[in-house]
């Protein structure tokens, strides 16, 4: 067997395995699509049907008409955009202070900050709720928006790690040339941090897009609801409209998929450069 022939056979074997693996991981999505196109009777037919007899594209229309889709979409986008801005603003400033400035107690404060990551959200849920109640913020977007401007430990940690990979010589040269700290931060260091910033932006986008508990707890006005909340319209106490739920879920998943694949390069770069793995 020639070397070239062996190489081709090897490649075919590798690609076959990869394709099988990809199909395996894609199966839940394909099943979602299949269910989204079925009528209710076919959803529970046995043996299960992968390809529907009649493709009911009208399920997508019915699903999006079952709740005020455009309003919830607009509400969600509002929260996502403000949250992304807030997360970038706070994480970059605080991360810079921890990563590139020397000040007394810096490392102790950083340890305390990291320590907050150990607190499960469920533990702080009721005290936080009472705090926002005392501020008069219940049934407003403020509890969903303001905390992102106060920084998240994970994002700050990520930015700090990234800032530390940039040589200090750059800052020192800029200082010698008379540059202020704010200018060094904004014009020299921050433009070099695009991968980390994009990682935070994508993470925040996906977190806010998929957030269910926040709107559930703090919003009491249906006009203010978000898109994930709309999905619950299909799940009743004893019954679920599986076909409509899958149709709506597919539509709602699309923006995150598009965002992830568009920014995949930066996302992976940000993760690898800062040494943070999922």
């Amino acid at each position: 067997m020639s070397k070239k022939y062996r190489k081709v056979v090897w490649k075919i074997a590798v690609y076959t395995i990869l394709i099988i693996g990809a199909l395996l991981f894609l199966f839940p999505v394909l099943w979602m699509l299949s269910t989204a196109l079925k009528d209710p009777q076919e959803v529970m037919s046995m043996p299960p049907v992968m390809i529907p007899k009649a493709w009911r594209w009208s399920n997508f229309v019915d699903a999006l008409n079952a709740f005020p889709f455009l309003r919830y979409l607009a509400n969600t986008l509002f929260i996502v955009v403000v949250n992304s801005f807030g997360a970038l603003f706070s994480a970059s400033l605080v991360g810079y202070a921890f990563g590139r400035l020397k000040w007394p107690g810096r490392d102790i404060w950083f340890m305390i900050l990291i320590g907050t990551m150990m607190l499960p959200g469920i533990v702080t849920m009721i005290p936080t709720f009472i705090m926002f109640r005392n501020l008069g913020w219940i049934n407003t977007y403020l509890p969903l928006l303001v905390p992102t401007f106060c920084g998240s430990a994970f994002n700050i940690f990520l930015m700090r790690q990234f800032f530390r990979t940039i040589p200090m010589d750059l800052s020192e040269s800029a200082k010698i040339d008379g540059c202020s700290e704010i200018r060094i931060f904004g014009q020299i260091i921050l433009p070099l941090c695009k991968p980390a910033l994009l990682t935070i932006a994508i993470n925040t986008f996906m977190g806010a897009w998929n957030d269910y508990m926040g709107p559930l707890l703090y919003l009491n006005d249906t006009d203010k609801y978000t898109i994930t909340y709309g999905l619950r319209a299909f799940q009743m106490q004893y019954d679920t409209d599986w076909n409509l739920l899958m149709a709506a879920s597919l539509v709602i998943t699309l923006p995150t998929l598009i965002l992830f694949f568009t920014c995949q390069k930066y996302f992976v770069e940000g993760i690898t450069l800062t040494g943070i793995k999922g």
Binding site: V43, M44, P48, N75, I126, I130, R133, T222
Partner: protein, 463 residues
């Protein structure tokens, strides 16, 4: 670059403006009944009759008042009833918030803790005593007496769940129960009489042997019965053997009746084996379908609302229904109730009075019949519930007979304020027995000891 920036800003401005502004059409659309004018006038008459019925000798003194109402069951019906009530009472504004049943407690618990819970809300029947002991809800006994509330009109078991230290803290609203469903075609196929469902668990075992079929590889094609499939929990089976869960605060479920119940379910499962059940059950739960509806399970315990699900997913299914089997077919008839009561918080006297009046309307004959007709829900108002077969003859005589027989026996799971999570211990013990990992004595005595320990811990912490 400037053009791109401008375009981006315009898009953002549009998003924010849509997010910030509400449209009246959308809000109105949610609550618009869409009924004809003719329909509305007869409904108004009925509403007036209902009001007279519940408010004899009582006159509300409040003026303009706005109240909040949260619901998780029969939400569309509640929206419609609130609309009708507001038409009759223009001084009362009711803001209804429908929350998914599955997230309701997550929303309610912080709100109760922070005292931002609504004036009136649906609370799980059985939960009221706990909320009353924590002083999160209002004692409505006196307010109901003033309004001439007739307790005999409501399902006794549901009413008892609304009481704490003898006083009412909630009004029974809607309930549910479990029935025994079977596949008539499968019965006929194996030579069983489709009109004679099993009355004892021994018969269920015998029928399971006939109804369970395997393919050539030994995998289950159709399963007769399994107590873990459908909407069935160990205590439901235990009750049908005469076991009780508690005597006061003391657990008493570690008894011979429980052992007999668990051993019989194990015996039924051994017809096809635990591994076959597990494979079968995993596929069903992963693919989110009911094996009974798909014809792969011949007998199942399910909710009384199950016929609606069958009608949606497999209207051709030839099903029958009966009361739950018992140990001997004569004694210990039982089933398990759940459901919702109406509870109240105090945000001022006027709001509380308005909320209680609205609550009484929701429990009136008119409102309860509307819920029964619209959602075919097992309502707590007995006069309304008695009309079930009139509103839903499509379920058949067999269904309504089974409901009528089950209703008096169906009961709520015991309230245990010191350790409300005890049912998880029973379920775990039951699983050990079903998997064959522990004997009944080992599993249930461990569970009982754990409940005793948790109860002691609670009392030590609260001393």
């Amino acid at each position: 670059m400037k053009k791109k920036l401008m375009a981006l800003m315009m898009v953002l401005a549009m998003i924010f403006s849509i997010a910030a502004c509400g449209t009246e059409e959308e809000t109105g659309g949610d609550v618009d009944s869409g009924d004809s004018t003719e329909g509305q006038s007869s409904e108004e008459e009925e509403a007036e009759q209902g009001e007279e019925e519940i408010k004899e000798g009582y006159e509300p003194t409040y003026g303009e008042v706005e109240i909040e109402f949260w619901c998780s069951s029969n939400t569309d019906a509640c929206q419609e009833l609130a609309e009708r009530y507001m038409e009759e009472h223009p001084n009362v504004t009711i803001n209804v918030l429908a929350v998914s049943f599955w997230d309701y407690e997550s929303k309610l618990i912080p709100a109760l803790a922070a005292e931002t819970a609504p004036d009136i809300f649906q609370g799980g029947l059985g939960g009221a005593p706990g909320r009353a002991s924590a002083e999160q809800i209002v004692n409505i006994q006196e307010a109901l007496e003033i309004r001439g509330y007739d307790e005999s009109k409501y399902l006794t078991t549901a009413l008892e769940e609304c009481k704490y230290e003898g006083d009412l803290y909630a009004m029974p609203f809607v309930t549910d129960t479990r029935l025994f469903y079977y596949n008539k075609d499968a019965f006929a196929e194996v030579g069983l009489d489709p009109e004679q469902p099993p009355k004892t668990w021994e018969e269920v075992y015998e029928y399971t042997k006939l109804l369970t079929t395997f393919d050539e590889n030994g995998n289950v094609e159709r399963l007769g019965f399994n107590s873990s499939l459908g909407n069935c929990w160990p205590w439901v089976i235990m009750w049908t053997y005469g076991a009780e869960l508690f005597d006061g605060e003391t657990p008493v479920f570690n008894c011979q009746e429980t052992y007999d119940a668990a051993e019989m379910m194990k015996q039924i499962q051994d017809v096809y084996g635990y591994d076959n059940y597990l494979a079968f059950s995993e596929v069903a739960s992963t693919m989110s379908y009911s094996p009974f509806i798909s014809g792969e399970l011949a007998m199942v315990i399910e909710m009384e609302s199950f016929p609606n699900t069958i009608a949606t997913y497999n209207p051709e299914l030839n099903w029958g229904v009966a009361t739950l089997p018992t140990v001997d077919g004569e004694n210990y008839h039982s089933s398990w109730n759940g459901g919702q009561g109406l509870e109240f918080t105090n945000h001022g006297e006027d709001r509380l009075n308005a909320a209680i009046d609205f609550g009484l309307y929701l429990c009136s004959d008119e409102a309860q019949e509307y819920i029964l007709e619209r959602d075919s829900t097992f309502v707590c108002n007995l006069d309304a519930f008695a009309k079930g077969s009139e509103y839903h003859p499509e379920y058949g005589e067999q269904y309504w007979n089974a409901m009528e027989e089950t209703a008096p026996y169906s009961k709520f799971i015991d309230n245990h304020l010191a350790y409300p999570g005890y049912n998880a211990d029973i379920a775990v013990a039951w699983d050990y027995v079903m998997r064959g990992e522990k004997t009944c004595e080992e599993a249930f005595s461990e569970a009982e000891q754990h409940v005793i320990q948790e109860t002691e811990n609670y009392h030590q912490m609260n001393e």
